[in-house]
Symmetry: C2
Subunit: 279 residues, 2 copies
């Protein structure tokens, strides 16, 4: 069974997403960069890849849209994962003996209310959440904990001292499965199509006319986003997700009309729509 | 003269943006979080704030859109800044004596081609680019450099060993000035209006009809983005930037029509349009 590639160290949220999507027993392959995730799938060393594409706090990850355009892989599925932060420490550590807590600055910021309540704990920046968990398991420095997901506790033999110490609830990352072959949309499930397009002319109302191709055929746009490209004043890139697949006549006709008004219109994948807000 | 607040340590790209926007002599005030930047301006401790709102590689920063909605401040201006990475080292360090290079993992990744060419240099993750520059100026560890902007060299008394070691050219961050009072649009300059809206009904084609309010009055949308909100299946938040200001009849009428179709339609600011791709 070939592994699923993800970016990060073992225990990263991308690995958690891979196991949730493909099953807990799936072998995984950590890669340093997203580029290496794509090339690992392209070469056939990995069966699939899992990449984050947008986060409810941080937004769309343009870099991964760029890689989807650069590589000839297809989106074969999607999964939304709630990002939960736990306080981990070497086994036997008591909460009151903790002094320092390592994690990625973003994760530390997302737990600011927890630190406000527990003034004796000092946050220490680390380059990665799973990497912080790994480091405290290796270094055995007394009084130092880490903020990471609960899966890291199991992976690195750490105790969970507190769960869900994050400030806000809606920190959700949407992941995509990328593969060489198209995904399967099961009977009775909804399909979703992701595409990228560039309007042929930079005219007032061109987006309105493009959206009209969908709206006038009752094709529902689930996502639409213009890509900020300050380099070229007259070109905008748009990301769109629509409900349905090109196997449906109205979707196929809408896409044909959109092609008349765009210089680029590339379908990134047709896949089964995931549950939004999946825990 | 009251300072301009920014998030990060001295030398952060936000501080560079503040000095470019308000002038090199403007006093600045580093804050730990974006929330503190907003509250510093709100309290009147800072005259303005500077926040990043989107990056050409990483996308929109939803967190700052959230803070714009939460706080009653207004966008008073915009500035795009090319993110340039320089290799810095303590004065007197020769390039060939360098072994380790500290920086934020994202900055290290953006310089991967440089590291591929110079195999003797090992990248070391650090929580922050300006923080990495500061650390090598304080620790005086021989053979260790940092990747940060050129301004950090001046600030921390470091040498610039190499300039523009980043892989790609279009790493641009758009910053917003936030203030208690509206900004000024100079005579002969274009105005830009930023707004956030939530369609009243989740119907197929509702966005098409909303965009029609603008398109049929020749109001140009510069940006449009749907906010991924996996929490509420039936509510989408949209960010839009349009050319012009509500002082123009067609813009005012378009906004009035948009209000008929939305439950929320908040103008975040009317300000002078900056040069796209400003260096």
């Amino acid at each position: 069974m070939k592994p699923v590639a993800f970016q990060g160290v073992p225990g990263a949220n991308s690995e958690v997403a891979a196991k949730k999507f493909f099953g807990p027993g799936v072998p995984t392959r950590p890669r340093e960069t997203f580029e290496e995730v794509f090339s690992s799938v392209e070469r056939g060393a990995s069966a699939h890849g899992i990449i984050p594409i947008e986060n409810s706090l941080a937004g769309s990850i343009h870099q991964n849209y760029d890689l989807l355009l650069k590589h000839r892989l297809t989106i074969s599925g999607e999964l939304s994962l709630r990002i939960e932060h736990a306080l981990l420490a070497p086994r036997g550590t008591e909460f009151r003996s903790l002094r320092l807590v390592r994690s990625h600055p973003q994760a530390l910021a997302q737990c600011s209310e927890f630190f406000r309540k527990h003034r004796t704990l000092r946050p220490v920046s680390y380059f990665d959440t799973a990497g912080a968990a790994k480091s405290i398991s290796e270094e055995e420095c007394a009084g130092t904990g880490a903020i990471a997901n609960a899966y890291c506790a199991r992976l690195y033999g750490l105790s969970i001292l507190r769960k869900n110490i994050e400030n806000r609830e809606n920190n959700i990352t949407r992941f995509l499965a990328i593969s060489r072959k198209a995904g399967i949309v099961r009977r009775g499930r909804e399909a979703k199509t992701s595409l990228v397009f560039v309007p042929a002319r930079n005219e007032v109302g061109i987006l309105f006319r493009i959206l009209g191709a969908f709206a006038l055929r009752n094709v529902d746009l689930v996502k639409i986003e213009s890509r900020p490209d300050p380099e070229s004043t007259f070109e905008y890139l748009f990301y769109a997700d629509l409900a349905g697949s090109p196997a449906m006549t109205n979707v196929a006709n809408a896409l044909a009309q959109v092609r008349e008004m765009t210089t680029l219109c590339r379908i990134l994948g047709v896949y089964e729509r995931g549950n939004r807000g999946t825990r």
